[in-house]
């Protein structure tokens, strides 16, 4: 089984009100100088056949009309939890 992480985000040029809301909240918390916030989602999965992941993403995980996606295959070592 191959572990993978799929990152999905709204396409450039599509208004992302969630990102805007986060962006507007930041100065009130003392975080100045942060812009272009985009909120997407991340899906982790394990697949027997990683070659089929792009098709799976296009058909279900993302809507290619409005979202871009990136597939990141991860090996066991890099997927271990890391503490800050």
């Amino acid at each position: 089984m191959a572990k993978a992480r799929v990152l999905i985000r709204p396409k450039e040029g599509i208004l992302d009100p969630q990102g805007k809301a986060v962006e507007r909240a930041l100065p009130a918390l003392g975080f100045e100088g942060v812009g272009h916030v985009r909120v997407g989602r991340m899906v982790e999965l394990e697949a027997e056949d990683p070659a089929r992941l792009p098709e799976l993403c296009e058909k279900l995980l993302a809507n290619p009309l409005i979202e871009d996606f990136e597939i990141e295959e991860i090996d066991a070592a890099s997927s271990a939890p890391t503490n800050p």
Partner: protein, 222 residues
């Protein structure tokens, strides 16, 4: 006239749709696991939160046996009406162009809206909007109703008369592109809109304008 109203886990407006359709014929529910539409004349994909709307609204319902049957039915010219979540499902399925995004305000809206009926010159052979022009007073209630499509798609929809409904000036509740509230496919047999005509069929609730939408769909069947 025989209507079939789909029912997914998480649907919540199928009973009102059933009631609305009963006013103009026979109406029955079709469970999401059924591939058999039982020879109905028109299908309604109702509002609600099909399969919890997980991932994206309508994304999972698209793969249900009932939706596979609806895609086939629509492909053969059958009349299909998608309301709210049903509109989202039809867009995800590719039966209608575009997508529905989170409201610009990030708030769930629930209020009566005025709709301008457009597309009064449908493609030949369809009779979707063969009624006098009028605004319809219909309730809208949704969190993800911002219609979006690429600019060139929007231009094509307008050029082909596929914009079925627009929010009246100043009433766009969600930031939809070009105030679009509903669209139809190029053939004219598949129609989707965010507001809820099934909640506006009895004078007791303030408006019977929703009936006109069901009449239009009934008129679109081959």
């Amino acid at each position: 006239m025989r209507w079939g109203i789909l029912q997914f886990p998480g649907s919540c407006d199928e009973r009102d749709a059933l009631q609305a359709c009963s006013l103009s014929g026979e109406a029955r529910l079709v469970w999401h696991e059924s591939r058999d539409l039982d020879g109905v004349d028109a299908v309604v994909v109702p509002g609600g939160f099909s399969y919890g709307d997980y991932l994206r609204a309508g994304a999972i319902a698209r793969f249900s046996p009932a939706m596979e049957a609806v895609a086939e039915f629509a492909g053969g010219g059958g009349a299909v009406l998608g309301i709210c979540n049903g509109f989202q499902v039809l867009c995800e399925t590719g039966l209608l162009p575009g997508a529905l995004l989170v409201n610009e305000s990030l708030r769930f809206v629930c209020r009566q809206v005025e709709l301008q009926v457009e597309g009064l010159h449908p493609p030949q052979g369809t009779q979707f909007f063969n009624r006098p022009e009028k605004t319809l007073s219909i309730p809208a209630k949704h969190g993800e109703g911002r219609y979006w499509a690429p600019e060139e798609t929007l231009d094509a929809l307008e050029a082909n008369g596929q914009v079925a409904f627009r929010y009246a000036p100043g009433q766009n509740p969600n930031g939809s592109a070009r105030d679009i509230a509903g669209v139809r496919n190029a053939a004219g047999n598949v129609l989707g809109l965010m507001p809820h005509p099934e909640h506006a069929v009895d004078a007791m609730t303030g408006s019977t304008d929703g009936l006109r939408v069901f009449e239009a769909v009934a008129g679109a069947r081959a």
